[in-house]
Symmetry: C2
């Protein structure tokens, strides 16, 4: 018996959940809420920095009438886990063979260096080919130092990164990987 | 020889610098910039969380046409110092005898509890009577637990708080106090 073609197309990759319409940021936000509720960690996405140009006053309070998005010089997420300072950024690429470094601002790279120097934990969470990886800041920086490319090869991410599997709740249990990588646990 | 009355009034308190028109937030921001430049600590004021209601697109990028300020559930400043997670809030009161607790949201108090539980450092920087104090989160919470008042008496802040002196650069060297209080240094 033959199945019509579209069945193959509807096959759901258990690692992707793409069809649920979730994006990486939503998955991380719900995971952080889970960590907060279960009192596992205090990790928040920083509000996007804005420059307010004009405000008005309504009975409900101050209203911003005009503002601009500013470029962040730190990473998007930071917080506290097991007594350690954690900071990371989440990046998605549709590129299948490499992760373009244009995704990371030079001052963000500088910031990663500083976090490591001051004994914090810094990493990237990268989604490439519908798979999510944690890439340590140390590995990112050493790749950039030794390669004169403007992207990170997928092979490198596969080799040095740690796969974060999707699950039901929390959706992306990245602290399990942090335990393994930074706290030397199984 | 008698001085006219106004001379007494113009006497400058060396701890206040009020006449320079600086406010506590500006002083802390410039102090944090100093720490960043000298590579002492990575501490930033979090952007105020906003809810964007309307955006438009200009040749220069996305412009926010309407947005609202949201209530923060964490403290205003956080970062990394000597391998430790630090979070604090800065509060000014014109009240001379006590610090009104209406200045701190209940979820911020909950957050201070959690930061301490997860082995971070949490405190308030309070300016009262033109003097700046660092009050440990632990002391704040124990005061609130044992007193059924809606303010903290100035006497308590004087007794339990640590005075942060104004200086030229950095203007408010609060990490000196952090060293003394949390890292047991002179």
């Amino acid at each position: 018996m033959k199945y019509p073609n579209h069945i193959e197309k509807n096959y759901k990759n258990p690692l992707s959940y793409k069809n649920r319409g979730m994006d990486l940021e939503e998955d991380l936000n719900s995971t952080n809420e889970y960590y907060l509720e279960k009192d596992i960690a205090l990790i928040f996405k920083k509000p996007t920095p804005i420059g307010v140009a004009k405000v008005s006053y309504s009975p409900k309070g101050k209203v911003i009438e005009r503002a601009f998005f500013k470029e962040p010089s730190t990473l998007d997420y930071n917080g506290l886990y097991r007594g350690s300072y954690i900071e990371f950024d989440a990046k998605v690429t549709k590129n299948r063979t490499s992760f373009p470094l244009a995704n990371i601002h030079p001052h963000q790279l500088e910031h990663i260096k500083k976090v490591i120097k001051h004994k914090g934990i810094a990493f990237l969470i990268i989604r490439i080919n519908e798979i999510v990886y944690l890439l340590r800041g140390e590995d990112l920086l050493s790749y950039i130092t030794s390669h004169k490319r403007n992207s990170i090869e997928y092979e490198f991410i596969k080799e040095k990164g740690y796969m974060i599997k999707y699950s039901f709740n929390p959706s992306l249990d990245y602290l399990k990987i942090v335990d393994h990588v930074y706290f030397k646990e199984e």
